[in-house]
């Protein structure tokens, strides 16, 4: 598995997200209140809303378009809604963050 460096944890505000541009579209990288980091496609399974713009609470994000709540751990919609978004492996080494390239490549293939 190839890990690609994307920056430092300090680049992301706590309870916030930043985007990483990739050949397959944007990946949203989240940092929770307790400094857990997750990456998922920046694309809500409902109507494609940019999840990186949502409000982060616990290990979940609420989509800014229609308030679907997506689990950052599983990528699955929580509550009454059904759908899921791709999760991408993340590695934290000290301050530095990496995402797994193979996961990216596998979608391209």
């Amino acid at each position: 598995m190839t890990w690609i460096a994307i920056g430092s944890i300090a680049d992301i505000p706590p309870r916030g997200a930043r985007c990483v541009a990739t050949p397959q579209g944007k990946v949203a990288v989240f940092r929770t209140a307790d400094d857990q980091v997750y990456a998922i496609d920046d694309h809500c399974p409902h109507k494609g809303g940019p999840l990186s713009q949502g409000i982060v609470h616990g290990a979940a994000v609420t989509c800014p378009l229609h308030n679907w709540v997506i689990s950052l751990e599983t990528g699955k919609a929580l509550g009454a809604d059904e759908g899921s978004v791709r999760t991408i492996p993340v590695k934290v080494e000290g301050e530095r963050l990496f995402i797994a390239l193979e996961a990216l490549a596998s979608k391209a293939a």
Partner: protein
């Protein structure tokens, strides 16, 4: 093949009949309704609370438009049927629609009786029958002038109380010596008159109207003795008569009403009639309980269901004027074979009278204390021999058989078949059965499942007591809706505790108020953030991550993830320079759509998030600041051109609008706030549907608030008239500050005002000068920290991470 059922009239009786019909045989008929009134079925009994301002029309709708659609019913609103062709079996409306029927139901209701005196057709003479009458009265009441109600019966007194509540000077003229003489004996009529007069309503009995006088419009009423009472509004509420003209023209048998048998069948086997227009066994009816009984019978007939017959029964009368308790039932005339028991308590204003015949109750009049009405009614219905309890009968149920005077015990002691809701004929057993059987927990549940207390609402207390009895501790009438799943506290409690405990950060609120989640959710965090911003403007550091994306990036997110940008145009005024700057920005950033908004400014749509700071930088150079079109905060102040240009303008509405906008921009509010200032009552700026509006008049500035023109449509309430621009600004600012401090997050002004009551708001921001000043000062203080242009802040680098990707990766690898 489905049969065609056509109904003429869309009042409460046919509405109820349809409910029974749809329950028993949903697919049997293709139903078409013609309603002369241009609206859906609503609870006509509740027009008085609408008149007095205690309810809104929306709250009294029984069947909304969706109900008709859901059941596939065709409803012609505003179509009066002008002819029935019994040969061809068709009906035709005044708009020329002809519809064939297999079964026809006539439910044309009643028409108000208009006394045939000179002047009865003058503008300003109204009847009291439908929503149009109520709206006309409300319009007239705005003048705060004199009104006369002719008729001291149920309807007349409710109209008088409503008009008085709306600020009119009201006189009731009643031709008989005491009020409501058909339902009350003279003693109770006297007490009622005292109670009505105590509300500031003048009452004249034995007042016989000779003419309504006036030149082109109502100016007063002249009595037989020559007295002239001035008034600009006359409401005739002297009675109703069945509306049977259409049936008569069609050749059906008509007496006082349309004659039907005890199955609601007219003289034509294909035609039925029910409601106030129908005459059964020589009786016509005006109260809802027998009309609903007719609906039950008619529905059974239409579905060939069980053989139901209409049986006459007495219906209790209750007056729906808040604070006057009155109950009347049955026959209470004196007679040789009758006895009576009377209780009077002058200081408490209580009068009770029970009329007996052969030791059985045949009539009851209660005034001042009516809780035992249901019990007396029950004894009367069952013809119970009361000789055993005769000595204590008048004291009510609580005094029988050593039962305590606890009202709950009294309800507990009622038999299962005792009637609780007279309007809908719901007995105690049905209610308690539904509570346990269906797991109901609140009043609304009971109303939805049994209809008990869903019509006139006077048995609400009894239903609540049944809930309490059945559910015990589990019944919590004051149960507040919690903010979200993270807490069991409601918004009001949270706001109160933030102040009381001095909580100044979101983590402190969550810790102290025992939040169930670690960091809240997308519902509670923005609300808490707002409450803290509002309550501690100088100490609280705005929690950026608890704001919705629009307020975080100061633009409006669109469906494709791009943003729209709306710069402020003060009072809707712009210039060549500004327009040129916008045009340049549009060209430079290739903005795909430019649109004029409803709030008199310009929206640029389809801007990439990364471009936002550069767009703002260019707009900023031309002098633009953020329009906050994305904010729960002050949006626009719409204006007309006012006295500067308009030949009708009375004041400088543009100037005042700009002044208000420059004073208030940047403030955060519980929900968006849209304002407008119109320069004259022609109201070109549409100020009367805004959160806050000003209508300029010659004598000053009329301040309006609590309008809505979105999900709900609602005209504003008038807060008051002030003489100067300075006063107008102070009142408006105080009003908004009160709203900021009290409302729940996302609650618009009109919803907050409905909850708090407009009287309370007037008291605080208009009548109490000191209170107004402190509210004003607190707003001014908070503006010190709020009036910072968010766009220029971000142009200078604030939150720059927000507008850039963190990294771009994988492109080289993917290319390999």
């Amino acid at each position: 093949m489905t049969e065609k059922l056509v109904i003429i009239g869309n009042g409460m009786a046919p509405g109820r009949m349809l409910e029974h019909l749809l329950e028993a045989a949903p697919d049997r008929y293709a139903v078409t309704i013609f309603n002369a009134e241009p609206r859906v079925n609503y609870d006509r009994i509740m027009l008085s609370p609408v008149l007095s301002g205690e309810k809104e029309f929306e709250e009294i709708v029984i069947h909304g438009d969706g109900w008709y659609i859901k059941h596939g019913i065709t409803l012609y609103k505003g179509h009066r049927i002008v002819g029935i062709d019994r040969e061809a079996k068709t009906v035709t409306s005044d708009h020329g629609v002809t519809e064939a029927y297999d079964r026809l139901v006539i439910a044309t209701g009643s028409v108000p009786f208009i006394i045939p005196v000179p002047g009865k057709d003058l503008p300003g003479v109204l009847s009291y029958r439908d929503l149009d009458d109520v709206n006309a009265m409300l319009l007239a009441a705005q003048s705060r002038a004199k009104a006369i109600v002719i008729g001291g019966g149920l309807l007349g007194l409710e109209a008088a109380a409503g008009l008085k509540e709306r600020g009119m000077d009201v006189t009731v003229l009643h031709v008989m010596p005491t009020l409501m003489e058909r339902q009350l004996d003279p003693a109770a009529g006297y007490l009622l008159q005292k109670a009505v007069e105590a509300r500031g309503i003048k009452v004249m009995t034995k007042a016989n109207t000779k003419a309504i006088v006036g030149n082109g419009k109502v100016e007063g009423v002249e009595l037989m003795d020559g007295t002239i009472i001035p008034a600009t509004l006359v409401v005739m509420a002297v009675g109703i008569r069945p509306n049977s003209a259409l049936a008569k023209d069609a050749g059906l048998e008509v007496n006082r009403g349309i004659v039907v048998d005890d199955c609601m069948q007219t003289s034509d086997p294909a035609i039925m009639a029910l409601g106030e227009c129908a005459e059964v066994g020589g009786h016509v009816y005006g109260l809802v309980a027998p009309l609903y009984e007719m609906a039950r019978v008619a529905a059974a007939r239409l579905t060939d269901g069980e053989d139901k017959r209409f049986v006459h029964s007495d219906t209790p009368t209750k007056l729906k004027v808040t604070g006057i308790d009155l109950y009347s039932l049955g026959d209470f005339a004196d007679g040789d074979d009758r006895e009576e028991i009377i209780l009077r308590d002058a200081s408490a204003g209580i009068y009770k009278r029970v009329v007996l015949q052969d030791n059985r109750i045949i009539g009851t009049v209660l005034f001042g204390e009516t809780a035992d009405g249901a019990w007396f009614n029950d004894l009367k219905k069952k013809a119970t021999d009361i000789s055993e309890m005769r000595d204590t009968l008048i004291f009510g149920q609580a005094f029988q058989g050593g039962v305590s005077s606890d009202p709950l015990a009294a309800v507990a002691a009622l038999a299962d078949d005792a009637e609780i809701c007279g309007c809908n004929g719901v007995c105690k057993g049905k209610i308690t059965g539904a509570i346990t059987g269906k797991g109901l927990t609140g009043l609304d549940d009971v109303r939805a499942n049994t209809k008990a207390s869903a019509s006139c609402g006077s048995c609400t207390g009894l239903v609540e007591q049944l809930l309490k009895l059945t559910l015990g501790e589990a019944y919590n009438p004051a149960a507040v809706q919690s903010m979200c799943g993270c807490t069991s506290l409601g918004h009001d409690d949270v706001r109160r505790l933030i102040k009381a405990k001095g909580l100044k950060t979101i983590p402190a609120v969550m810790q102290e108020l025992e939040w169930k989640t670690s960091c809240g959710c997308a519902k509670c965090r923005p609300a808490l953030n707002y409450y803290l911003v509002c309550d501690w403007p100088d100490q609280y550091a705005d929690d950026y991550q608890s704001r919705f994306i629009n307020e975080r990036v100061h633009a409006n997110i669109q469906k494709d993830g791009t943003y729209s940008v709306v710069p402020r145009m003060w009072g809707g005024v712009t210039s060549a320079g500004e327009l040129r700057a916008i045009a340049d920005v549009v060209d430079k950033f290739d903005i795909p759509m430019v649109k004029v908004t409803g709030g008199q400014r310009i929206d640029m749509l389809g801007i990439r998030k990364e471009d936002l700071p550069a767009v703002w930088a260019d707009l900023g150079k031309a002098g633009f600041v953020s329009g906050h079109a994305y904010a729960k905060g002050l949006r626009t102040v719409k204006t007309c051109v006012g006295s500067d240009w308009c030949r009708f303008g009375t004041q400088d509405s543009t100037g005042l609008g700009i002044r208000i906008e420059k004073f208030m921009w940047g403030s955060w509010t519980p929900a968006k706030v849209k304002m407008a200032v119109s320069g004259c009552p022609r109201n070109c700026a549409e100020a009367t549907c805004k959160d806050v509006g000003v209508v300029c008049v010659d004598s000053g500035y009329e301040i309006h608030f609590a309008g809505a023109a979105g999900l709900d449509i609602k005209g504003t309430e008038v807060l008051g008239l002030v003489k100067t621009e300075d006063e107008a600004l102070e009142v408006i600012v105080a009003l908004v500050q009160m709203y900021r401090e009290q409302a729940r997050y996302l609650e618009r002004i009109y919803k907050w005002a409905k909850r708090i009551g407009t009287a309370e708001i007037k008291k605080q921001v208009l009548d109490d000068a000191e209170r107004r000043r402190t509210l004003f000062d607190r707003f001014v203080f908070s503006q010190k920290f709020a009036q910072v242009d968010p766009w220029s802040e971000r142009v200078s680098g604030k939150d720059k991470h927000e507008f850039r990707p963190m990294a771009s990766v994988g492109f080289a690898e993917a290319a390999e």
